[in-house]
Symmetry: C3
Subunit: 668 residues, 3 copies
């Protein structure tokens, strides 16, 4: 990428009046240099079966070209036209809940040949059309693709074929999945039962894995199609999204992002996050770190909020802060969903940059300042590179495992453990990369790896973790790590499986804490912050030092948190769910042990410090104030120039940070 992109999703198709010239003019005034078009407008592009009409697409491309605005073209395939569903109702996915109905987007069976046939045809027609224009810089494959819980008979037939190829014989299948239990043993491939009725967690987890592979396959298929038309310099991306809890929260359960990202040349994502009083930057940072780690490169924020959900209407300064927060994590694009607010259908209250009246409003006026700064500072901010020494290992399989075998409170999920650790690191200003099971070979690139609740993992991955420590790495893992294999079969040795030596602890009992606190350590954490929730393993150390025990009349004899020297490295184990405050204090100790308690750690949330090296080879420092109060913050890094104001900033000088304000200093 040669410049920072600032953009919006734009739909000529949805406009209630002729606005195209006016919109492009307003965009140019705001410094918006890219629009995303065409995604989800299949019914406009192909109004009748086999009849194509790209008027809106051409209009947008031409008007953008005139205005000097680049275009990302999305394939329109994630929402099918009524005529297609009317003629072929079977393209709507049958799910665990039964047959679906036409109406919503993202509910088709992505394996349906009927769907694929029509999708291919419209993609090819669209590609032929848009490649006539010179301002198309890249393509987005579909949008937020998932498997939409497709589970009809055709999908299950295919799943049985997948099982047969994987396991060879039903005997092996029975053994791996423990099908003897409750008389689930199968005698032949044709009698494998409907997975949606099954109580066998191994079987269901494998189906989830299989369905994630359908997504990978689907995106690869679209990528192949688009590549046939690709011109020099054009990229292929996809808008990956995260576990949704009203905003982008955690690892996406239904997609293997790492595998699916092979279909794209640059990663892209949705990041929606709370704002107003609740803006912390954590989701921007988390989503960015995941996205950056997919291709180990810069990424595009293809969708984020300008106004968005009704309680995200930004306070003054927040829109700017959000845009620079994305850049500070390595984003090369910040794009709003979408340009204008929608007047019909169902997303009327998911507001765009403009409100329903299509006139300049407070967010638009703030966007103008962002666009101007992005334009002016582009070469200082684009392609920002990071060399993080800390990583966190996440896993779809672990997530699925804890979905099928829930923690006893019924509420705490895998992503809660992920975010507990991530947010603790974030608040300590420890930047980190994300590792996936596929990155097994790359563990050694990091000095410190955090592993939240790795409930399900193949032996090789657990052995790699142990090897990582043996070779000098510093590991911190939580409860439930190494509990079951890749098929959710629980190990029949003492836990944690394959890691007892590495951690120097083992256990065979666990329970749910009731009035249990962590005791015995000297961390500066008190009261409610010492409480244990959700889960506690009754640890017995072998070689480990007991760092904290359980404060409880019966469980007091067991360890809760341990530290172990192993080979050239060290391994800490947290056998329970601590509070974020406790975890931060313990991480501070563990990071120091790994030699990672450094400059950035002198500041702490709500002041967030991010760094990167730009294409000019210079280091850029971002200091953010995620709070309602103005703050004075010492500047810890090398002297340089504050890019927005042009002020010189000396090492050790005091930065004055406005509420929801920030400084960007280029060192040297």
């Amino acid at each position: 990428m040669d410049r920072l992109l600032y953009g919006v999703a734009y739909y000529d198709e949805y406009m209630p009046e002729e606005r195209l010239r006016k919109d492009m003019e307003m965009m140019r005034e705001a410094g918006i240099n890219v629009i995303r078009i065409a995604e989800s407008t299949w019914a406009t592009e192909e109004p009748e079966d086999g009849v194509f009409d790209f008027t809106h697409v051409r209009r947008a491309l031409e008007a953008a070209q005139e205005a000097g605005i680049s275009v990302i073209v999305g394939t329109p395939t994630y929402a099918v036209p009524p005529w297609l569903a009317a003629a072929h109702p079977e393209i709507i996915a049958v799910t665990e809940r039964g047959a679906g109905k036409y109406g919503a987007r993202q509910n088709m069976d992505i394996t349906s040949p009927v769907y694929l046939y029509h999708a291919e045809r419209v993609i090819r027609k669209l590609m032929e059309c848009v490649q006539e224009y010179g301002n198309v810089i890249g393509f987005q494959l579909d949008n937020e693709t998932k498997h939409y819980h497709t589970a009809g008979p055709n999908v299950q037939k295919r799943f049985v074929r997948y099982l047969r190829e994987k396991f060879g014989t039903v005997e092996e299948l029975n053994r791996e999945f423990g099908f003897n239990y409750w008389s689930n043993r199968v005698d032949s491939w044709e009698n494998v039962p409907d997975v949606t009725g099954s109580i066998n967690g191994s079987f269901r987890a494998e189906f989830e894995k299989f369905r994630r592979e359908l997504v990978t396959e689907y995106l690869a298929w679209q990528s192949e199609l688009v590549r046939e038309y690709l011109k020099e310099g054009q990229f292929i991306t996809h808008n990956f999204d995260y576990e949704w809890r009203g905003y982008s929260y955690g690892i996406q359960p239904d997609v293997d992002h790492k595998a699916a990202a092979e279909a794209v040349t640059i990663a892209g994502c949705d990041i929606y996050h709370p704002t107003q009083d609740l803006l912390t930057g954590a989701e921007i940072s988390f989503g960015g770190d995941v996205s950056r780690s997919l291709k180990q490169d810069n990424y595009l924020v293809i969708e984020t909020e300008a106004q968005g959900h009704v309680n995200w209407t930004p306070f003054d300064g927040q829109l700017r802060m959000q845009a620079f927060s994305h850049v500070a994590s390595g984003a090369n694009a910040v794009m709003y969903w979408h340009w204008h607010s929608i007047h019909n259908a169902c997303e009327t209250y998911w507001k765009g940059l403009l409100s329903h009246d299509l006139q300049p409003n407070a967010p638009y006026r703030e966007a103008c300042t962002i666009g101007a700064d992005f334009d002016r500072l582009s070469e200082h901010l684009v392609n920002l590179k990071k060399k993080n020494r800390v990583a966190m290992l996440v896993s779809n399989e672990a997530l699925t495992g804890l979905e099928l075998f829930r923690l006893p409170d019924g509420k705490t999920k895998y992503n809660d453990v992920v975010r507990l650790i991530y947010d603790a690191l974030y608040e300590l200003n420890v930047e980190c990369d994300i590792l996936f099971p596929q990155d097994e070979e790359r563990l050694g690139e990091y000095d410190f790896i955090a592993v939240p609740a790795l409930y399900s993992a193949p032996d090789s991955l657990l052995q790699s973790l142990a090897g990582y420590v043996k070779n000098g790495g510093h590991l911190l893992a939580t409860f439930k790590t190494g509990f079951s294999n890749e098929y959710l079969t629980v190990a029949h040795e003492r836990q944690p499986h394959l890691l007892t030596e590495c951690f120097g602890v083992s256990y065979d009992e666990f329970t749910e804490p009731r009035n249990v606190a962590l005791v015995g350590d000297e961390l500066p954490v008190a009261g409610a912050d010492r409480q244990v929730s959700t889960w506690m393993e009754l640890l017995t150390p072998t070689t480990a030092n007991v760092f904290a025990r359980y404060g409880h009349p019966f469980w007091g004899r067991y360890a809760a948190v341990t530290e172990n020297a192993y080979g050239k490295g060290s391994a800490a184990y947290v056998g329970c769910m601590p509070t974020k405050a406790y975890l931060k204090a313990f991480l501070r100790r563990r990071l120091a042990r790994a030699g990672l308690w450094g400059t950035e750690q002198k500041a702490e949330f709500p002041v967030i410090v991010k760094s990167g090296v730009n294409g000019l080879g210079k280091t850029v420092r971002f200091y953010f104030n995620y709070s309602m109060e103005p703050r004075k913050q010492e500047y810890f890094h090398g002297h340089g120039v504050e890019l927005i104001s042009g002020d010189l900033i000396a090492h050790g000088s005091e930065l004055e940070l406005e509420p929801w304000g920030f400084k960007v200093i280029e060192e040297g």
Copy 2:
């Protein structure tokens, strides 16, 4: 109507033993002068297909005749017999949730020709039978008719025909509903998708409107049938009911009461309400005002509770108070559902006037005093007329709109806003009429119109509201008024659509309040009563005076409540959801501005004052004490006679009101 009706629903069919003579005797002793029969007893009247047996109906009519009791005959059509559903299962409505099952009442497809054929036949047979008796004073069409969410293929075919007739072309349909969104654009009428799967709010809202028209049509059809048999002096009514929240709460979502009431000669309704400590009279007053406004005339309370739900068992005096409260709102009948408590089926705990033992009980003994008073005072209380200067405008379309585009707390609904305003007026002793969109021409009859959250309205209605103010009317509207047109398409100008001049404000942003209070005004309201909840629009005044602003570090620059002089009138806009306490204080100010702060406003809830003019041309004043404590209340009105005691009451004298007690004074 020539006398006040006091009655019960009576079902000889349900009696566990021979009771007919005994029941009539007990009724006569209680002063009960009317019974409602036959409703919902189709299976008894037509025990087999085409075999009719009106024994129970005849028995009841004859016994009532002997006892001098009048009869309202209900058509039995809202519960179909088992043989009909067994032979024609398709008469049970298919809804959004799929096929229904026989068993409950009110779950048939009211458009089914099979159903209509059988319904017509039994109605005609019943009419022939009952018109032999001289004590039939009127007919009730069906009961609490609704569309029962019928949405099967036949209904949707008809809906497409309705759309075709309304919009002419699919292009027009696509444009009005914004079907381009998410690829919902339709290419032909035969490909219009199943509305029950749609995410398009415009489409769904239109279906709701269409289904409400099915109810209107159905009642008109029954009315035509009954009219063929009608004799001089007999009325036709219907038992309309309200949004149900365990009691009669608000505007009925599934029926256009105003349109449907064209089928009747006198309006009738259900009013169930909390009692014991929670008896406020507000539901009696609200339901009464709606019902009275349907035909702008007196109405019948066809069902209300004697005991009813288990936690409504009345305290001493409450049954009397309730009966006179209905009369004070203009009811010409107070009828209990029903005479005796039911010994089987499902409404065993919806107790009647008598308990299960069928003996005189506490409620019966109190009913005897009511019956005696009604009888004695009938000419003073019947046909009470009101000339209210205040009205509230309600709308099914606005209700549906806020159902499909919910307020962000997910809980607050249209009827909550309706009741917030209504209850504030009620507690201030401001009697009001209810206006419907069909009353557009009648706005000028009122000095003050309150408009809760008129989310969806055709331009003409909004223009009429502006015209009303211009011509001297006083308007108060809340947030969300004038947000979208009749198809839920949001206006693409500054909000409120067509009313920015009238209110002298506009806005393009809104949010959900978090710790926001109303500030800047001098209303005597403090603390939590100043909090804003649910919704806030960030108002910018043009010509309006800012009455209150938002107390908030960022939103403080916006107006919250405004007042505007416009033409000869004035218009106040409340851009957020205030507390009832705040709204009452503001209404006091607005009503005074309109010259409506008068005599009644010297009392306030729990003392409620109601007035009307009786057939003798005299004004009758009701003073109610809705509380557990005895109260002394100054009598503000002209001297007169307290009708129950016969005492003379002088202007300015002190009324002693018992707990749950009241006085009725006929002036002059």
Copy 3:
């Protein structure tokens, strides 16, 4: 039974590695003398249709034989193999919610001839196999059998036949069920509607009764089969379970335990209960009393927890205490579910005695002490007999009645009233038997009978209760007793039906209490403990003494709790839901009145005292301390030997009870 059984469920089928010899050795070391096998392993026993393979069964039998361990063989029929469901999908029960799916256990149609054909075949094959072995001591029919809500067309056809046989004519059916209501009257047997859509409580309740009979019939059928193969000395049992609220809570709604128990020669049951801080022993006692009362004999605890659910991981001493608690209630067997923790499927976190690592752990080590004590003390503890003077009458029909006509808070259920009374008696150390409607003739065997909310009962049962009092019995019943007949038809006389003379009270109104306390008595109960919840009947005494009234401005004139002398006995009526504290105080008074306030009542929960007479004719006393604190407790009974320690214990001496500790003294 000639010795105390200590056992586990054991599944060679589920073992992740060859463990058989090792397991038997570990069991023998722990004193485990019985295993339960084969239950739910149909797919292993008959891996293909008609192909049988009892390898695992034989292996287990042989290894157990070598280890001197007895075996209970369970028929495998409660979980069907995949091949059977694949070939005959109709064997999966169609329920109110529609068609089921294969996958879970216990979801077949137990009336399906296809299912029964295959079930019979596998049972016969299994019986032939296992009867070759000498260590089989008994058989368990199926497991936790219920009707699984089977409600498909075939079942409903059968239900109509059942109705026809019971009622003879549809006229009688219409009359008994009150089918006139809402037009539900049926004209012919073929038009009886689908019961699952019905709103008629009588109809639905009868269907529940019918479905309970299906369970009785099914178990009788299996019993007949097994009896064909039975050898001298072998028993037949079944694993009855209780209403499940995350643990064994109350009367089982879906099975008539008393009737179904005719199929077995010894009763058996599941008892799962909270532990850790929440261990009270109440569920152990309740489940035991029910089970003992089924055959009026000792019973087997076929399943209980060693570790079980994750928050039941036992504290030190609790596993011992639990085992002896079962014995103290008359259990002849304590068996854990199951030996080892499961590594797959869905019950991975329902841990066995061993954890997943299959090694000795804390619970196993404690089990070793239990096994040793059971072995050593077997003749002192086995076949413990009780002669209780107090009983509680429970009823499936009452339970169903209160399920269909719920108490107004929507939460309180029949079993809450049952447990309120049971727990009060338990905490007062009053041991009791359980009576069922079938025990009508046996009421006279008790001095005191407690009757919780007997909502539905035939006249004969109510007359028997009245007769019981007349003949000198002491009765205490609660609200709702005698409200409706066996068809849920409410009596049309003053309530309580047929018992107004016996209790000397009647009522015709009731309500839900709001801020109502019990007043007027001198019980030493204060404050919140006097509150009334859920339900209150407005009682009027005829001959009764008013013991307590309602503290309320309007309801104060009614009685709440009454006492009546009737014939030679006495009858107390509690017209509302009191607190447990209040009820205990009132029971103390009532029991004293019946001459039942005795020795055991000197102690109170958390000290629980249980007694029985062993086969040596000696009385055994158990003193339990269900608490975290050590306690000193006076020993009230005759001098004897503490069986575990061998210490002599004198009357009046002080027992030192450890936290979760106990003493067992054999008198004389």
